[in-house]
């Protein structure tokens, strides 16, 4: 009993911090979302689910949800498609090559977005010099794709590293056996490597989808949601409502809605991951536990 209570004391500070900065605020956000609360007017009044009533008819919310979903789907798909060949290159070794690839991941997203804003610059940007005529950030049609490109540049290294960990866990014997049986490289890739890599792919998908869905930094720096709200994601819309308009009630409702979406994505993926794990051969335990998240 004494050991048990000492153990609880060892864990208490971490528990208290997490309760104070994460659990309590999320509950408080739900509570705030049931209020009309405008900071500057010092107004706060319980209005039940009226904010959510407004939310389902708010065209700007649905547009932001669509933008966020599109951003997430396209960015994560591109990161996976580029990350896989990069992981296979990394698998052949080269510490310096690995460190070089890690650089985009390590620098602040705000910095990389500013860097890309200069590349995209409609007058003197490098992309403009190489390929004149495209106003990357100025046109509603290209601005979201420009933001996706920045996200792909920044986070593909993370995807490649997760996939590299999965590749390293595939026993060489399996690949050798397939080769002895006369399988061509393409056949080995699709019939051996890819199925065994499935759990690592799902894990990368989980981390990146959750992360891409809350995208804020890159878009805030590149366009602040413009032009004409074409790049406004849920986090950007909620941020503007909270801190620009000072509307803490509806802003909290938007935050809670974002939270619910992320929760739903997480649960769906964890289900898939659980199934993949059941099916995975004992050789690869990839996906057994969730790994460090990427921000």
């Amino acid at each position: 009993m004494k050991a048990r209570s000492q153990a609880a004391v060892l864990a208490a500070p971490a528990m208290a911090i997490l309760a104070g900065v994460a659990v309590l605020p999320v509950l408080a956000a739900i509570w705030l979302s049931l209020h009309r609360s405008i900071l500057v007017f010092h107004e706060e009044r319980f209005i039940g689910i009226a904010n959510f009533h407004f939310l389902v008819t708010d065209g700007r919310f649905w547009s932001a949800l669509g933008t966020t979903a599109y951003f997430t789907a396209v960015a994560v798909a591109a990161e996976l498609l580029i990350g896989l060949p990069v992981a296979m290159l990394l698998h052949r070794g080269g510490g310096l090559f690995r460190a070089a690839i890690l650089l985009p991941w390590a620098i602040p997203t705000a910095v990389s977005a500013r860097m890309w804003a200069w590349l995209f610059n409609a007058d003197y940007g490098l992309l403009h010099r190489l390929l004149p005529g495209v106003d990357w950030l100025g046109s509603p049609r290209t601005a979201l794709h420009a933001a996706i490109l920045v996200d792909v540049w920044k986070t593909t290294p993370f995807v490649a590293l997760i996939l590299l960990a999965g590749l390293s866990a595939i026993p060489e014997d399996v690949v050798k056996a397939a080769r002895v049986d006369g399988a061509r490289p393409a056949r080995i890739f699709f019939s051996v490597t890819l199925p065994l890599l499935r759990p690592a792919i799902l894990l990368a998908l989980l981390f990146r989808s959750l992360d891409a869905f809350r995208v804020f930094d890159a878009i805030y720096v590149l366009t602040e949601g413009g032009p004409a709200n074409a790049t406004e994601t849920l986090s950007i819309y909620a941020y503007k409502t909270l801190l620009r308009s000072g509307d803490f009630g509806y802003g909290s409702a938007l935050s809670v809605a974002t939270f619910a979406c992320v929760l739903a994505i997480g649960l769906v993926f964890l289900r898939f991951l659980g199934r993949a794990e059941e099916r995975a051969t004992p050789a690869t335990g990839v996906g057994r536990k969730a790994g460090a998240s990427n921000r």
Binding site: M15, P25, A292
Partner: protein, 258 residues
């Protein structure tokens, strides 16, 4: 060849930014600069130096707080039994998936009520929402890999759980603590949303905020922005090159069963 293409894609934009930072502002309209200058760096001034210092303080504070609170908790989760053990670990994992925007409004009100809004200290606690779960995750898997016999032997020799942690396990965990410190430092150094939401005084801005809001009087000072970006990137480039093995191991910890 393939490697070259990959390197151009990932390092090319950085190289262009470095070149821009030495590019004289009046020559930006040219295809390439005729001369190079350090004027962009010299022009950054004390406000940006302040931002570097602020970022250092906040990132170091977050790292210290998370290691102090996280190491003992991770040890308890890995080796001891106490009520709420599963809840703490599962809860930390769930919290690491929270979108930060979900907690901006209540944290703003809480920090304001506590007089911590618009202070650097007031950033450290919110940063624990992402940094502490990461710490718990990395250190718990590290302590789990150490043999249980070690703990039992310490107990037989008369150590309390606390003494076993301080005298037996902590001295063994420097590599894991270092890995964890590097990752927490990088994530805190890079954070934008909380810093943007809770800090309003320009002299208290962190680097990501300073760079996001960098504005000139008339035109965008691209050369200076590039110089500021390079200054913000250099410490991270060093960390990455020096500790890439640790960073990769930490990022993919648990992605693969040993």
């Amino acid at each position: 060849m393939k490697r070259a293409a990959v390197l151009v894609f990932f390092l090319g934009p950085l190289a262009w930014q470095v070149l821009t930072s030495f590019w004289p502002e009046p020559e930006l309209t040219r295809a390439l600069p005729h001369t190079l200058t350090v004027a962009n760096y010299a022009g950054l001034g004390s406000t940006f130096a302040r931002a570097v210092l602020n970022s250092l303080l906040v990132a170091a504070g977050t790292t210290a707080l998370c290691l102090a609170a996280g190491a003992s908790a991770a040890f308890a989760i890995a080796k001891l039994d106490f009520p709420g053990r599963g809840l703490l670990f599962g809860g930390a994992l769930a919290i690491s998936m929270f979108p930060p925007i979900a907690t901006v409004s209540p944290l703003y009100l809480i920090l304001r009520a506590a007089g911590l809004r618009d202070t650097l200290a007031g950033l450290v606690l919110p940063y624990a929402t992402f940094a502490l779960p990461l710490t718990l995750w990395l250190l718990t898997s590290f302590f789990r890999d150490l043999p249980d016999e070690l703990y039992r032997a310490a107990r037989v020799d008369g150590c309390t759980p606390w003494q076993a942690f301080v005298h037996v396990f902590l001295p063994l965990s420097w590599p894991a603590l270092a890995t964890c410190a590097i990752l927490v430092f990088i994530f805190s150094w890079n954070e934008l949303l909380y810093a943007l939401s809770f800090i309003s005084t320009p002299s208290k801005r962190t680097i990501p905020v300073a760079i996001a809001l960098f504005a000139g009087e008339h035109v965008e000072p691209w050369g200076q922005i590039a110089a500021a970006s390079v200054v913000a990137t250099v410490p991270l480039a060093f960390l990455t090159l020096l500790f890439q093995r640790r960073i990769v191991a930490g990022l993919t910890a648990g992605a693969v069963k040993e």
